[in-house]
Symmetry: C2
Subunit: 125 residues, 2 copies
C-alpha cells in the first residue's frame, strides 16, 4: 500500500472533507450506494470507467472513514453489500448540492471544459 510522504493539511472544514471525499470515484460511489446500488459488482457496472481495483480501494477508504459499512453475507458465491452509515448519510445533501450545481450549469460547464481540452496546442503567448 502507498504510504504518504507528506502530511495532509487538516486546518479547516474544507481540508477535512477533502480528505474523505477527494478521490476520483468516491463521490460517485457514495451516491450510487445512496440510491440503492449496494453490491460491488453493481457499482462496477454503474461506473464502468473505473477499474475494479480502484473501486475496491476507494470503497475500503470510505469504509475506514466510517462513511459506509460493508456487510459480508456468508454465502457462495460471495455477496457483499455496502450501506451508508448514519454519518455517511449526512454528507449526501452536500453531494446533492454539488451535483445540482453541475446539472444546472451543465451547458456552460461543458463549454468551458471542452474549450480547454480541444485547443491545448495553440499557444496564446
Amino acid at each position: 500500500m502507498y504510504e504518504r510522504k507528506i502530511a495532509p493539511n487538516l486546518n479547516c472544514g474544507l481540508d477535512l472533507i477533502g480528505e474523505v471525499l477527494y478521490g476520483k470515484w468516491k463521490i460517485r460511489l457514495l451516491w450510487f450506494i445512496h440510491i440503492g446500488h449496494q453490491r460491488p459488482s453493481e457499482l462496477q457496472r454503474k461506473i464502468p470507467d473505473a477499474s475494479r481495483r480502484v473501486l475496491n480501494v476507494q470503497l475500503k477508504e470510505l469504509e475506514d472513514h466510517e462513511l459506509i459499512t460493508r456487510k459480508v453475507y456468508p454465502v457462495v458465491p460471495p455477496k457483499v453489500e455496502y450501506s451508508l452509515t448514519e454519518f455517511g448519510k449526512t454528507v449526501i445533501p452536500v453531494i446533492a448540492a454539488l451535483g445540482e450545481w453541475g446539472d444546472k450549469n451543465e451547458e456552460r460547464l461543458r463549454t468551458v471544459i471542452l474549450r480547454e481540452l480541444e485547443k491545448p496546442q495553440l499557444g496564446e503567448n
Copy 2:
C-alpha cells in the same frame, strides 16, 4: 503544459463540477477570493502550504473556466486582482456547504483521518 492522455468523463453534474473544482487548492482559492483576498501574494500567504507555482496554475484554470476574472493594474510593481465572476459566485454556496459539513464533523473526521495515517504499518489480516 501537461496534456491529458485520457479524456475526462462528463456524464453528469458531478463529473462537470469535478472538472472545475478538482484541484488541491482550487476550492480554497475560490473561498479566499470570495472573502476578499484578491491579490496573488495575499492568496499565497493565506495558503502557505501551496507553492506559488501551483497556485498560479490553478488560478489560471479557474480563470479559463470562467469562475474568476483577473484584472491587471498597469502599475509598477505589478498589481493583479482576482474576483469571482457572477458564475463563480453561484458556486460559493456549494463550497460553503462543504466547509460547513467539515466543520460540523471536525472532531470525528480528524479521528478517522488520523487513525489511517498513524497506523499504516500494522497489517490488519
